[in-house]
Amino acid sequence: MTNFATLTRMRIQLTLRNKMFLFFSVIMPFGFFFLYAGVFAKGIPLVVRYFLGPVIALTVMGSFWGLSAALVMFREQGILRRFHVTPVTASDMLASSVVANFVLTLPTVLLELLFARFVFHVTNLGDLFSAFLLITIGTMSFASMGLVVASVTNTMQETQVINQLIWLPLIFLSGATLPLATLPQVVKRVGLFLPATYLVTGLQSAIYWAFAPWSLDVLLALGSLAVWAALTFFLSAQLFRWEPESKIPRRAKLLAAATAIPFLLLGIWENKTNRTMAQAQAMYESLSAPSKSAPPADSRK
């Protein structure tokens, strides 16, 4: 436990000394924030509130880049080997990545909320407890996904390419960039298989509708992301390699693909019931008819 704590502190310290971090984890998220709030939402508080979900989701998801890639670099440079001759375990190493990631993401999210409140006058930030839980589970699950990528790639470059390939569909097909309700039907159907979609809609339910953590929408997002986080973390611990030259077992890539199963199942169910999509639609429509800016009664369970 103490090893995990000191490693977490080291990871945070090292990340703060890295200029790339400043760009990807601070400048870029705020760039998005002002683009959405200032340009897309034209500074209208209600619309800014609507876009807070996607913006925070982007910040939360974007965090998966740095720390997992750093772990690959640690392996490549033989840094992990040095830790391997100490009593440090693979889980210490991985958990410290996930938690450091969370600690580093939280201030950015907090600032985004503060800007929304004081710069864009969003007086109602919804259910912040729901939002906090989603942000926590969200950063942990996407960081764990980054760790799985790190465990099935050999070089930093390879890791970056795979991360890109995952990142693009995640942000474009999930409602994190363009509102889900405005996307073509086919894209919506695909989007329902992505974890990012549930993070976005979950955060929107929390902030825009002020849903409590035990409401179906928030609970569904929390539950599915938590299951996914546990699965990806467990897998990354199983596949963890200390040595640069140790080979990736052949089954590893198969197992990595298996982490998609929870959202595959959820996607099939959602495609059948159309529940989340109807919610997203209702939320989007309420923007142009502010009088209806209350959640559909039937979904508020």
Binding site: T6, Q77, G78, R81, R82, V85, V88
Partner: protein
């Protein structure tokens, strides 16, 4: 011996087709500096990394501090310290942070301040790892191997790639540890390093131990001869020099005569007497005693550093 700190019996390690370690056996006693000497690719690092619990063995039996490095990996890692080959630290980690971080992993610790002082890194305490020189990095690596006051320390090629002056600094550090009776296992492909630092040496080649003993015994039991190189004021014939008492062979190389002897004192006395009788003078004399290199050449027919 039952109370050896390290016991290795018939150790075998394969990487696919390649058999890197082919039945290595040796024991290391408490308080000794034990060296594995051999050329690159001889299986030294594989052997040491199996003892450290970093690699699995294919067959044989090893025990370190009474523990099995595979089954008791966690306990073992508390008892050992290591300076690995081909390793690094994060670029932006400061020297003192590295020592404190690694010390925090252990229950038994040495004071990082004291290590810093001892390894001459006090002035570098706040320097980032990537701003250290090669010698400073290596000193830090050795200091880090001691943060848990280990029972056994492993130094894998502690001076590889360092320039001669820095190498001597490292020797001083290891000699100091030797005086403190630390149990040290080190690998090296430098003859002088093994001769100077190790109480006992196992010469390793192609995954096998080909000779084992104190450097002195290894040299004494080898057929290696002492070379006596002399320059004389007047020419001599090889024949007469070769017939001197204690001399086995004599050859002329340029203006120098190279005599080989297994009894150097006799050879020198008879040489001087002979020269006096001839009215010849000795301009210079150099003596090269057999080294572990000669032992290696004798066993393998190859030089150690090729």
């Amino acid at each position: 011996m039952a109370n050896s700190v390290i016991q290795v019996e018939n150790l075998v390690k394969r990487y696919g087709e390649l058999e890197a370690v082919r039945g290595v056996s040796f024991n290391v006693e408490e308080g000794e500096v034990f060296g594995l000497l051999g050329p690159n690719g001889a299986g030294k690092t594989s052997t040491v990394e199996i003892l450290e619990g970093l690699r699995t063995l294919d067959s044989g039996r090893v025990s370190v501090c009474g523990l099995d490095p595979q089954r008791n990996a966690r306990e073992l890692k508390n008892e050992i310290g290591a300076a690995l080959q081909s390793t690094s630290l994060p670029d932006k980690l400061r020297v003192m942070e590295a020592l404190r971080l690694f010390a925090s992993f252990y229950k038994r610790r040495r004071d990082p301040e004291e290590l810093l002082k001892r390894f001459g890194l006090e002035e570098k305490r706040s320097t980032f790892y990537n701003q250290l020189s090669g010698g400073q990095k290596q000193r830090l690596a050795l200091a880090m191997a001691l943060v848990n006051d280990p029972k056994v320390v492993f130094f894998d090629e502690p001076t590889a790639g360092l320039d001669p002056q820095v190498r001597r600094e490292i020797y001083d550090i290891i000699e100091e540890l030797r005086r403190e009776k630390k149990t040290i296992v080190m690998t090296t492909h430098y003859i002088e390093e093994a001769e100077r630092l190790c109480d006992r040496v196992a010469i390793v080649d192609h995954g096998k131990v080909i000779a084992l003993g104190t450097p002195r015994d290894l040299k004494a039991h080898s057929g290696g001869t002492t070379r006596i190189e002399v320059r004389l004021s007047k020419p001599e014939t090889n024949g007469t020099l070769k017939d001197l008492d204690g001399v086995i062979d004599a050859r002329q190389v340029g203006d120098t005569y190279v005599l080989h002897s297994q009894r150097p004192p006799q050879a020198i006395v008879s040489l001087v007497k002979h020269l006096e009788a001839q009215g010849n003078d000795l301009i210079s004399l150099e003596i090269a005693t057999p080294s572990l290199e000669d032992v290696f050449i004798e066993m393998t027919g190859r030089r150690l550093r090729d």
